[in-house]
């Protein structure tokens, strides 16, 4: 029992540390990647004993700064809700990771350890619920600040997230229909199959439109460019305009955690999760029937690394998008959400259903 609890705690810690670190590194990546894209160098000044590590310490410096800054609450603001909002946002963004598998089940010292904090059979609903609750962070922050700008930001944020969750739901439905499970681990496993013996049966192959729509809606969910209306830093500054110190830091972190979450979800649902094409538990099953035997631990590590790379790539991709595109306007965003993406996702759903029916 204790061992089980220990293992669970270890997994929780691993995921938490991993996610938080990745989020933190994303702040660095955002700086460096945008810099490289824009012919700049990016942050590289923060140093420890003269070591600069390409600016990685900037993350620490930021954190430190956030912690020591004055925590400011507007005089007319709601003190409690103002304090609560960032935690709501961060908390619900973080708990989503509990249901995401980052590797196959491994066998260690005679135990079966699933590389997933908890393998819920309704995992996808769990994540969905967590993401929906995250909205409250934005709404509360916008309202509790007693600031027209923050209020506008909160309003935009909530309606945007509500609208795009619908699409997310609709596109996931397609995946569920194909993989016939709501357990994410099951979905990932199902993606290990090969179509016609060659093509991995990844979500993106069987649900290409769904994949794109999910990615778009997912980015919208993270409130980042081109969907950063709740922030809209050049026009309304955002729902967190009245936040400072680590409370602001939490919103910032939430942004990146959500980025990681969406990247992880995209990976999990459409890009085979931890699956590496042709790599099975016992080794490489290359097309044509050849088997390249690998020890099980090596396979597990490879899969975890593959998973990490995939997540990392989508993080990179989302940053690339963030630094390339201009921002939508509120009405355009709504139009895009309700008049283009949502109908398309319904269409996708219907098409999937028809295809499944036909194939069966």
């Amino acid at each position: 029992m204790i061992v089980n609890i220990g293992i669970e705690l270890a997994k929780v810690l691993a995921v938490l540390i991993g996610v938080l670190n990745l989020a933190a590194i994303l702040t660095w990546m955002e700086r460096k990647q945008s810099a490289v894209m824009q012919d700049r160098i990016g942050a590289n000044r923060a140093s420890i004993f003269g070591f600069r590590m390409f600016g990685l310490f900037q993350v620490l410096a930021d954190g430190l700064k956030m912690f020591v800054k004055e925590d400011f609450i507007p005089a007319q603001g709601h003190r409690f809700l103002h304090g609560l909002a960032p935690f709501v946002a961060a908390f619900f963004a973080l708990i989503g990771f509990a249901a995401i598998p980052f590797g196959d089940t491994i066998h260690l010292f005679g135990r079966e350890i699933p590389l997933q904090i908890i393998d819920l059979n309704v995992g996808i609903l769990y994540i969905f619920a967590a993401m929906s609750l995250g909205i409250y962070g934005v709404v509360l922050a916008g309202w509790a600040s007693n600031n027209n700008y923050a209020f506008l930001g909160g309003m935009r944020g909530s309606s945007q997230m509500f609208s795009y969750e619908v699409t997310i739901g609709a596109t996931i439905l397609g995946v569920l229909m194909i993989f016939e499970s709501m357990s994410l681990q099951q979905i990932v496993r199902a993606q290990g199959q090969l179509l016609w013996g060659i093509v991995p049966k990844w979500g993106v192959i069987v649900q290409p439109l769904g994949c794109i729509l999910f990615l778009v809606a997912g980015i919208a969910e993270t409130k980042r460019v081109p969907f950063d209306l709740p922030e809209g830093e050049s026009e309304i500054i955002g729902f967190f305009v009245e936040y400072s110190s680590m409370k602001f830091g939490l919103f910032m972190l939430t942004d990146f955690v959500e980025t990681v979450l969406i990247a992880a979800l995209v990976t999990t649902l459409f890009f085979g999760g931890w699956q590496v094409p042709y790599l099975m538990a016992d080794g490489w099953h290359l097309p044509g029937g050849t088997l390249l035997a690998w020890p099980q631990w090596l396979v597990a590590i490879t899969q975890v690394i593959a998973y990490a790379i995939k997540v990392f790539f989508f993080c990179w991709f989302m940053l690339l998008v963030r630094w390339t595109l201009p921002r939508f306007r509120y009405d355009q965003l709504m139009r895009l959400g309700w008049q283009m993406i949502f109908p398309l996702s319904i269409l996708n759903l219907l098409a999937t259903a028809v295809v499944i029916l036909l194939l069966n």
């Binding site: 990647q33 894209m37 012919d39 700049r40 160098i41 590289n44 690339l320 390339t324």
Partner: protein, 163 residues
């Protein structure tokens, strides 16, 4: 001016978005390549960034660049300035303060007993250099870091300006 409406493909967002991503990622990869190469020691490859890593790396100023003033010197180290007040007069910011003194050499006659420039007020227009009939003040030091903790420290005296 031709202002063409978007065609259907363009209206679908995706194609243009991907074109844009292609462009920016192109910048990303080509710059990344240059960065890496330079990190690996291929210093002759051009820089991956157009920025300068100030203060280690300084942007070369053009010869005409107007930086902090200096007073030129005679061979004995005394200022060439003869306190004619041309710069003081020409200065639109009125940041130059000169007090004249009597020089023992009748061929020089006049020298600046005091020559202060309040760089906190200076607009770096270069009129003083243009106004100087003695080639005594120049703005060619290349010094642009003129910060101080107080306004008083922004006032440069003759000793500072002679260096």
């Amino acid at each position: 001016m031709n202002r063409r409406d978007l065609n259907f493909a363009e209206r679908l967002y995706l194609s243009e978005v991907f074109k844009g991503l292609w462009l920016t990622s192109g910048h990303f990869f080509s710059n990344m390549k240059k960065h890496l190469a330079r990190q690996l020691g291929f210093t002759r490859i051009e820089k991956g960034a157009v920025t300068f890593q100030y203060p280690e790396e300084r942007r070369p100023f053009s010869p005409r660049y107007r930086s902090r003033h200096r007073l030129t010197q005679r061979e004995d180290g005394s200022p060439r300035c003869v306190a004619c007040m041309m710069c003081e007069t020409a200065c639109p910011a009125r940041c130059i303060y000169i007090v004249a003194g009597e020089h023992p050499d009748p061929n020089i006659e006049k020298y600046p007993a005091r020559f202060d420039i309040d760089l906190g007020v200076c607009v770096f227009c270069g009129f003083c250099v243009e106004a100087c009939p003695e080639d005594a003040i120049r703005m060619d030091t290349g010094i642009v870091e003129i910060a101080a903790y107080s306004r008083k420290e922004m006032i440069y005296h003759i000793e500072d300006l002679l260096q």
